[in-house]
């Protein structure tokens, strides 16, 4: 069972990285769909899964909208970002990371990569926990989920989310720097 999970996680990591190389819209759409299926399968609640993905979806939509509105060449970067997010978060949710870390020796060339993945996982944890906290706070403030003022409050919440995650990421980086990870 564990081997299957390892294989699945490695496959998803490879898919997350490989999606960047896809150029044709058909393959990209397929990749996006496969990523979404994997992502939803990793969560018990679809609503929670979609809530956690909200920041990346807003980012991707904003990126596409900016490209369209300002007459820039419309790239498929937004779709690739979302698909990578789906695959990578699924890999992080699937794999027993404690086991991986215990198996990789500090002298191994794989150790920096394992650490990097742990950093990324921790950052996803920060992003997810901040998103859930902010959306919960917003839902307590508004009277109706849709309607007057709700869009504005969502935009304000997301703006605040980016600021807070940036701050948390900066603090995390500083703490690891002081623990000797830049040496």
């Amino acid at each position: 069972m564990k081997s299957l999970r390892i294989a699945g996680a490695v496959l998803m990591l490879a898919a997350g990285g490989g999606i960047a190389g896809l150029a044709t819209p058909r393959w990209l759409a397929l990749g996006l769909l496969a990523g979404l299926i994997c992502y939803l399968a990793m969560w018990r609640s679809v609503t929670r899964a979609l809530r956690a993905a909200l920041p990346i979806l807003v980012f991707a939509l904003s990126l596409a909208a900016i490209q369209i509105i300002f007459g820039m060449p419309v790239t498929n970067l937004a779709a690739k970002a979302v698909a990578s997010f789906f695959f990578l978060t699924s890999a992080f949710r699937m794999y027993p990371w404690a086991d991986l870390l215990a198996r990789v020796s500090p002298d191994s060339p794989l150790f920096p990569l394992t650490l990097y993945l742990l950093f990324v996982r921790h950052f996803f944890f920060i992003l997810t926990s901040e998103s859930i906290r902010l959306l919960r706070a917003r839902s307590l403030c508004i009277t109706k989920p849709y309607g007057r003022g709700s869009f504005r409050s969502l935009v304000a919440a997301l703006g605040s989310l980016f600021e807070r995650t940036l701050l948390r990421a900066e603090r995390f980086y500083a703490a690891q720097l002081l623990r000797g990870f830049a040496e």
């Binding site: 990371w97 404690a98 870390l101 020796s105 500090p106 742990l118 950093f119 996982r121 921790h122 920060i126 948390r168 603090r171 995390f172 500083a174 703490a175 690891q176 720097l177 002081l178 623990r179 000797g180 990870f181 830049a182 040496e183």
Partner: protein, 230 residues
């Protein structure tokens, strides 16, 4: 007493032109415990970040007689306000061990030191659990263990009592009192510093407005009121 930290004419401002710290001067001796007190927004955390070289400030910050660099970073321990910024590994033991391995210790020596650090904080029974499953008080002590495992000669603590209950504050005070190394603590928890710090610096709007023995500073109600501390 040998000086381990010396700060001269430290000034810091953000790119927007907003000045946060003005002409900060102080020093910390070997084994001394110095508290930096100030109201919210006084610049305590900014000062700490400048001392640690995380923010580039004007002025002089000397640690052990020389500028802070990667060479002497290993002699410093830091405990951040939010333990989640420091602890991210699958188990607490790995969190404490990792910086030691990263600094070249052997796996056995690192594990031994990490176990000793956890034991000194009363956390030997939770070493196999991730930090996210511990209470905030335990997480604070865990980040202290992670900082102390590297045998630092000076320890910086940013708001160590923030959000802690009375018992956790007492536990933390006991642990910190017994430490023989120099400690720089930013806080606005005056009772905590009363029992711990030998000297206090009072920060107000980015300036040190008073400095002196803890009892003397804490008995000056006018000063504490003007600094927004009471």
């Amino acid at each position: 007493m040998k000086t381990v930290l010396e700060v001269r004419e430290l000034t810091f401002g953000y790119d927007s032109g907003q000045r946060c710290l003005h002409d900060i001067n102080f020093s910390v001796g070997e084994g001394e415990c110095v508290g930096i007190v100030g109201a919210n927004g006084a610049g305590k955390s900014t000062l700490l970040w400048c001392l640690l070289g995380l923010l580039k400030a004007k002025g002089v910050v000397n640690v052990f007689g020389e500028k802070l660099s990667k060479r002497n970073l290993g002699r410093i321990g830091v405990v951040f306000q939010n333990p989640e910024d420091q602890l991210f590994m699958p188990t607490l033991l790995q969190d404490v061990t990792l910086p030691l391995l990263n600094r070249g210790a052997t796996a056995d020596a690192a594990a031994e030191k990490a176990q000793a650090a956890l034991r000194s904080m009363g956390l030997e029974n939770v070493g196999h659990r991730p930090a996210s499953q511990l209470s905030l008080g335990e997480r604070k002590r865990a980040s202290l263990a992670a900082a102390l495992a590297g045998s630092p000669e000076i320890l910086f603590l940013d708001e160590p009592t923030a959000e802690l209950d009375g018992r956790s504050v007492r536990q933390l005070t006991r642990v910190l009192t017994d430490l023989p190394i120099a400690r720089v603590i930013t806080s606005h928890h005056l009772d905590f510093l009363r029992s711990l710090a030998s000297r206090l610096l009072v920060l107000w709007q980015g300036k040190i407005i008073a400095e002196g023995p803890t009892q003397q500073i804490l008995s000056d109600a006018g000063l504490l009121e003007s600094a927004g501390l009471i």
